[in-house]
């Protein structure tokens, strides 16, 4: 019988090997799924994983990968700090919505001014909106000890209702024939999140995501904040001894994740999405949680995980178009990929041993009954 034994430190070799193994396992399982649906499995896998990168239209799809991955990476990088420190903000979806709402509201207050200041102002407002929304669970946790997982999740529901209210009420486009939704911000030059490199669609959100990865990497590796976060995650008591204030850590981590999620929302609403609409949010806040874990909470890992997710989205769309695969099959395929990636992480954290092999004795465990593993 195989038992798991916790590694003292995560294995670096496995950390690199497991994502590759997981992708291969997904290709096999997904291939079986596609074959069962009567499609050519090799062609389907090729369409999803290869064509967006090196296919006939790669010059269009490559930058699109960055655009799709941008918000996921931006949000996931913000979340990763809290997750490392054991602070669980799972309400990024709500902070994303609030960022878009406050940013758009501030911008629309100046409509139709043509000033270069409008867009930067909106970005600031969006980030602040996200921060404010994230500070609610943070402050409640500090003051009353409420569980931030649950409060931040509840606030997602409140945010979606606020979004519907805004799209049908105060932010509704007065020239929109009564349809729910705001003015198109991407068509108002002062507020538009413009294409930075002609023909690619790359916008400020992508740049921000890239910057976030670099800054996060530096913070984590070189800065005292990164040290505090890592220490708090490994041993809260040691962190307290080292002078890390738990309250300030909660505030900093929540504000950081909320601010980045809010900014991501603003970049989307002024760019690719263009307007506030009832279903403006498409689950980036939740997908980013998965991305953060797939990236092992490391900035570079998150960058790669975000790109991998984007690849399955865009490759999945291509497979739908070219092979008439149902959208549901792609969703199932993505689910499989996530399961394999999450499952294989066990090899990074644990060592597999045959039961009966000499185990490092732990004093307290001598009397403990055997756990059926």
């Amino acid at each position: 019988m195989i038992v798991l034994e916790k590694r003292p430190n995560p294995s670096r070799a496995w950390a690199f090997a497991t994502p590759v193994l997981a992708v291969i396992a997904t290709m096999i399982a997904g291939g079986l799924l596609f074959a069962a649906l009567g499609k050519d499995p090799v062609l389907a896998i090729r369409t999803i994983f290869w064509d967006p990168l090196f296919g006939d239209f790669a010059s269009y799809t490559r930058p699109q990968l960055l655009i799709k991955a941008g918000p996921l990476i931006l949000i996931a990088v913000g979340l990763s700090f809290g997750f490392r420190a054991g602070i669980w903000n799972i309400g990024a979806e709500g902070q994303y919505i609030l960022g878009a709402l406050t940013g758009a509201a501030v911008g629309l207050a100046f409509y139709p001014t043509e000033s270069r200041l409008v867009f930067p102002l909106m970005v600031a407002a969006g980030a602040l909106g996200g921060i404010a929304w994230a500070l609610i669970p943070a402050l409640l946790k500090i003051r009353f000890g409420t569980n931030e997982i649950l409060v931040s999740l509840m606030l997602v529901y409140v945010a979606t209702n606020l979004l519907a209210y805004a799209a049908l009420g105060p932010l509704q486009n007065p020239e929109g024939m009564g349809f729910p939704g705001s003015r198109n911000l991407s068509q108002w030059l002062a507020a538009a999140n413009l294409e930075l490199f002609p023909g690619t669609g790359i916008h400020w959100g992508v740049i921000a995501a890239g910057l976030a990865v670099i800054v996060a990497h530096v913070l984590l590796a070189r800065h005292v904040f990164g040290f505090a976060v890592r220490l708090a995650g490994q041993s809260p008591r040691a962190a307290a001894f080292a002078g890390v204030s738990p309250s300030r850590l909660v505030l900093a981590c929540m504000a950081m994740s909320g601010g980045l999620a809010g900014a991501a929302g603003l970049f989307e609403v002024t760019g690719p999405a263009g307007q506030i609409s009832i279903d403006f949010n498409v689950g980036y806040g939740f997908t980013a949680i998965i991305v953060a874990f797939l990236g092992r909470l490391h900035p570079v890992g998150i960058l790669l995980a975000g790109l991998l997710m984007a690849l399955t989205y865009i490759g999945g769309e291509m497979a739908q178009l070219q092979l008439s695969l149902p959208a549901a099959a792609i969703q199932l395929f993505q689910g499989m990929l996530l399961f394999f990636l999450l499952a294989m992480d066990v090899l990074t954290q644990f060592r597999l041993r045959w039961k009966g092999a000499p185990v490092v004795p732990a004093p307290a465990a001598a009397a403990a009954p055997q756990e059926a593993s």
């Binding site: 006939d56 239209f57 790669a58 010059s59 269009y60 799809t61 699109q64 655009i67 799709k68 519907a164 049908l168 009420g169 024939m177 009564g178 349809f179 729910p180 939704g181 198109n184 991407s186 068509q187 002609p198 023909g199 690619t200 989307e268 760019g271 690719p272 999405a273 263009g274 307007q275 609409s277 009832i278 279903d279 403006f280 498409v282 865009i314 769309e317 291509m318 739908q320 178009l321 070219q322 008439s324 149902p326 959208a327 549901a328």
Partner: protein, 363 residues
């Protein structure tokens, strides 16, 4: 042709350069590729399902001369523009985008690819290569409104609205006007569900109406939940929406208003093949076969059925317009004088109830 497009893109030309170069003309031997962008899954049983039936009708009608592709569950927003562009890159010559929320994305992509033809449903932005199309659902609502007015015993009919947009307000007014004509004592209860599809909420809305004494329910949302609620209550009649909902025949579903896109799609694909395709703003109704009245079941008395069918035929023949004066607005101010009919422009921006409907349209 496809080869050319491929080499162009493979050599690193961006979408924008492509647009300036223009896409090469397709060879005559290749089938016309027609693409559809759907907002929901094709299995939604309602809006998207009906559009997909239209796509299947195109395949059936043209056989090998046409190849169709589609993408389902495309969110209105950030992903729409990419989905449409990818469809162009996949070689589509004619693309139908089937939800209002795709308007700006369709217009953007159409501007980049002048040689590809686009058609956007229910919107109002047009270009040389971008047409818009919609259906006069209010014509069908007039017919079922008449049946509702005749069938109610409590003199209370209900309307489950989705969102307060002109299309839905047209439907409420049209069905109310004709229910009143059929039965001067009729009153209408309107509930806004703020969703196009949420079975639990639609069932609750129907239930709430039934408890208020409503015994005929019209719905502008797509699930069959109100039908089930009506059946459970007994003695409550309903109408199928978007699809026929024939599973609930003969009661509670006594008729239906069906979106039928097949004639329009076949006609436009034919035009594209013939080279006669041109942009337009098309608003088809019963006469064009775009709006169908589903079978009126035996639960409806024969004379009511005959009246309803006569009304349908008058509308189809163009001898009667559902919005014909004298009609006042809700506050009593005159809207249409005796014999005057509403213009399309007025209807497209309709944002008020006619006289006799209680309640307010949410702002």
């Amino acid at each position: 042709m496809k080869l050319n497009r491929r080499t162009l893109l493979a050599s690193g030309a961006s979408a924008a350069t492509l647009a300036t170069l223009g896409l090469p003309v397709r060879a005559q031997t290749e089938p016309l590729k027609v693409g559809f962008i759907y907002v929901g899954p094709i299995g939604d049983g309602g809006w998207t399902f009906q559009h997909d039936l239209g796509r299947l009708a195109v395949e059936e009608h043209f056989g090998d001369a046409v190849e169709t592709i589609y993408q389902e569950s495309v969110p209105e927003g950030a992903d729409a523009e990419r989905a449409i562009t990818q469809m162009v890159l996949a070689g589509a010559d004619l693309i139908f985008t089937t939800s209002f929320g795709f308007m700006d994305a369709t217009a953007n992509v159409a501007a980049q690819f002048p040689d590809v033809k686009f058609e956007h449903a229910t919107g109002y932005k047009t270009a040389d290569n971008l047409a818009v199309y919609d259906a006069r659902f209010y014509e069908g609502r007039a017919v079922i409104g008449h049946i509702a007015g005749k069938m109610t015993k409590t003199n209370k009919i209900g309307y489950i609205g989705s969102f307060p947009i002109p299309e839905v307000i047209q439907g409420i007014n049209s069905s109310f006007i004709h229910a009143r004509k059929a039965n001067p004592d009729v009153e209408m209860v309107v509930i806004w569900a703020y969703t196009w599809f949420d079975p639990a909420k639609e069932a609750d809305a129907a239930q709430a109406m039934i408890e208020q004494g409503v015994d005929v329910i019209l719905q502008h949302t797509d699930s069959t939940a109100p039908q089930a609620a009506a059946q459970a209550a007994g003695n409550v009649f309903t109408f199928g929406q978007a699809s026929d909902m024939e599973a609930f025949k003969p009661v509670p579903r006594i008729s239906s208003i069906i979106d039928n896109w097949a004639p329009y799609y076949i006609g436009r694909v034919q035009a594209a093949i013939d080279g006669t395709w041109a942009t337009h703003s098309f608003w088809g109704g019963i006469a064009d076969g775009e709006v169908l009245i589903g079978e009126i079941t035996e639960a409806v008395p024969a004379e009511v059925k005959a009246e309803a069918e006569a009304l349908r035929d008058q509308i189809a023949a163009g001898t009667y317009h559902p919005f014909t004066g004298p009609l006042n607005k809700q506050d009593g101010t005159p809207w249409l004088a005796e014999g005057q009919t509403a213009t399309d422009e007025e209807l497209r921006g309709l944002n008020f109830y006619v006289e006799g409907i209680a309640g307010e349209i949410p702002a």
